[in-house]
């Protein structure tokens, strides 16, 4: 607390007063008061009327004096002033202005003619080891559009920054080549446009519409799978653009060959240019992303906060962004950047829920997952189809819920703790080499959350 700041000092006094008097008293007497000024060690408290002044002097003077003396001995005395009505009102308004900080709307502004979101630029794009190849490819494509890498195919898991990268290419392209036409769309929009055009009998106009762009960016092409007519239309569009050396950029959540139910000829064409993947961001990159995101909102976070944020969220950058946004919001409301304790407090909702779940629940879920009778888990049977689930249960109970070996043993039909240790070690070993088992356990975990 800054004892020179009357507002902070008053807030501190209020928290102390609140502890010593009844809520009814507190609300009646302290809600409309504030510190007017601090002068030569005398604190001037502004109160609404004579009633308050008399009562403060009679009832609260010693209490308040004790509280401020605890803060600092430099406060000699407290005086009470009856303040003008306007003055009190004006102060309230000033406070409201702080609370009413709005998110700037232009973040969500999207350009109608090219469908690009101006928020996504290379300036806000964090480059790390996980995406520098993709970034280099994007730069090369921008250098000589339509020639170097055509099409450019970027793939990676959700929330890795694919959309950011391809939109940034679009925005940069607009800047570098004014006059040329860019268009960004998702494959889903392409499908809808096409079906609409077919319905309206204007399929020819549809073809023309997309063929006059100099740079076409299509997001999430994996959604084209099983939509044969749209695929064929994209195939023709692709050929038309490719032949005239117009740059095409695709994004997807998997490599072209791995997209299921998509025509072979389109698959080949998607992979014909440059396919590049964006991996999982390493911790350093995640820290850089968190810092950059916060800085773009004008909030400087301390190193430990950044580290905490980056380490608690694994995977999606989108979730990381959400976390940073929540911190930024807190900072804007309170007026100061939060420290690590507050961050931990406020981000509890983002971190995985506290795992306290009954053993029975885990057994139920796993038994249901493997399609066996849950009773058999507790029995002494050594049938293979029961043994594996039982071991998986032990492994999950140990790894995810940190239950002791003996407890797991007793809960699962009175087994020895060494049996449990053996099972856990076995699964731990196998999970590294056996991809199917790893996937199974991953799926079970999602069931348990």
């Amino acid at each position: 607390m800054d004892k020179g700041n009357p507002r902070e000092l008053w807030e501190y006094i209020l928290t102390q007063v609140e502890l010593s008097i009844s809520p009814a008293n507190f609300n009646t007497w302290f809600r409309n008061s504030f510190i007017v000024k601090v002068e030569d060690g005398v604190i001037f408290i502004g109160v609404p009327s004579q009633f308050f002044k008399d009562w403060y002097l009679k009832k609260f003077h010693t209490l308040l004096l004790k509280i401020v003396r605890d803060v600092s001995y430099e406060f000699r005395n407290i005086e009470y002033l009856i303040v003008k009505d306007e003055r009190r009102k004006a102060l309230k308004e000033v406070r409201n202005v702080r609370g009413a900080l709005e998110l700037p709307l232009d973040e969500f502004y999207i350009n109608k003619s090219d469908n690009l979101n101006p928020r996504y630029t290379f300036d806000t794009f964090v480059i790390g080891s996980f995406n520098n190849l993709a970034y280099a490819a994007a730069q090369a494509a921008l250098e000589r559009p339509g020639i170097t890498y055509n099409p450019l195919f970027i793939y990676g898991d959700t929330g890795r920054g694919k959309t950011h990268l391809i939109q940034a290419i679009g925005n940069q392209y607009k800047k570098q080549y004014p006059g040329r036409k860019v268009y960004y769309l998702t494959s889903e929009k392409f499908v809808i446009d096409y079906t609409d055009a077919v319905q309206a009998g204007t399929a020819n106009r549809f073809k023309d519409k997309y063929r006059h762009y100099d740079l076409l960016i299509m997001d999430d092409v994996q959604f084209l799978s099983k939509k044969e007519r749209s695929e064929e239309e994209l195939f023709h569009l692709f050929n038309a653009l490719h032949d005239t050396n117009k740059q095409i950029i695709f994004s997807s959540d998997r490599a072209p060959v791995a997209i299921p139910d998509i025509a072979e000829r389109l698959k080949g064409r998607l992979a014909s240019g440059m396919s590049v993947d964006i991996g999982e961001p390493d911790p350093e990159s995640r820290m850089a992303i968190a810092r950059k995101k916060a800085a773009s909102h004008g909030v400087i976070l301390s190193d430990e906060v950044v580290e905490y944020v980056a380490s608690t969220m694994s995977g999606s950058i989108r979730e990381l962004e959400g976390m940073v946004n929540s911190i930024v919001c807190h900072a804007q409301v309170k007026g100061v950047a939060p420290d690590i304790v507050e961050v931990r407090q406020s981000l509890r909702s983002f971190t995985r829920p506290q795992k306290n779940i009954s053993v029975k629940n885990v057994v139920d879920k796993v038994a249901a997952f493997y399609g066996i009778d849950e009773e058999s888990i507790y029995e002494k049977t050594r049938r293979r189809e029961v043994v594996r689930p039982r071991q998986v249960i032990m492994y999950i109970l140990r790894e995810d819920f940190s239950i002791s070996y003996p407890t797991i043993g007793t809960k699962l039909g009175g087994r020895d703790h060494t049996t449990v240790i053996h099972s856990c070690e076995k699964i731990k070993r196998e999970v590294i080499v056996d991809n199917d088992l790893a996937k199974e356990i991953q799926n079970i975990r999602t069931l348990l959350v």
């Binding site: 809520p23 009814a24 008293n25 609300n27 009646t28 609404p48 009327s49 004579q50 009633f51 308050f52 002044k53 008399d54 009562w55 009679k58 009856i82 303040v83 003008k84 009505d85 306007e86």
Partner: protein, 366 residues
Amino acid sequence: MNISIEKKEFSDAVYKVSRFAERKNTTLPVLSSILIIAGHDGIKMRATNLEIGIDLKLEGKYISDGVVAIPAAVLQQIAGTLTQEGNITIEHTGDTVSLMSGTGKSLIKTVPYDDFPTIPFPENPKNRVVLPGVLLKNLFTSIAPCASSSMVRPELSSIYMSIEGGVLTAVATDSFRLAEKKIPLSNKGTQGKFLIPAKNALEIAQALPDDDIIMSFDEHQCAFVASQGMFVSRLTNAVYPDYRQIIPKESIVEAVVLRKDFETALKRTTIFSDAFQKVKISFNPKKNNFSFFAKNFDIGESSETLSANISGSPLDLSFNHRYLLAALSLTTTESISLLAAGIGRPLIIKGVGDTSLLYLVSPMNQ
């Protein structure tokens, strides 16, 4: 505590005092209670909502002294049902109080009175005037409705009281109309001015006795002290607009009409006023009459002409009829005079022979 009060005295006092208690079910329960004090200087009732406060003396017998706080709403309901003659006995034991009146006996839970605030008295007792309570009562009740009911501008929801040269001037305005009333004072020395919230003034007017009271005030607080008790109110701490500027100095036409004619004609015309409550008045010096006109597309239209003494040039003006009618409750004279200064300028209404009142109302756009 053990006291005995005559029933009528008790119900009157409860009726007066409970108006000063907090009516909203807010924070501090003691604020919505009446404090009854019995001591060597008699029996007293107190209540305050931190805006206004009352300290009322009661006639009655006291057997033993003590202090007790009872919810005002409960006392008010009991007081409303007391009919027969006789006394009511109030006895306090533990955390209950028993009320005995003739046949009945009620036990009421009390409220802890430690938190009952002191009722503050103005710090500087130099600013004081003595005047009959009945005058002040009439002044407040007649003029307070002209103040603004919105709290956006605290000065406009207050009555401006100014004492100068032995005259007390009270002004209230809501920026559409303005009422100014003057009362002569017996002692001429005091000077000063203050702003009392109109809401508070109305509450105090209900409780004021008719005989002489002492009105004293300082920057933040005013008090009205009578032999029966003391009434205090918070003052509005703001600057009152210089209302004298807007009063037209000259007039182009004046009409003198009988108050009774004016009232009935106006009331009949308002039936036909539109959603804006517009009534048009016309001064016709040639025919020596004065007319009202109102038109409503749904109902129809109506005009009323009354004979009047007109001097000046012809003029038409439109007003909100409520503001015209409000002028009549401010004066009791048989005829009233209306002075207009031209199109778009305010109309002044005065009672003929009554110099104490000045009522100003702004016209509506034609």
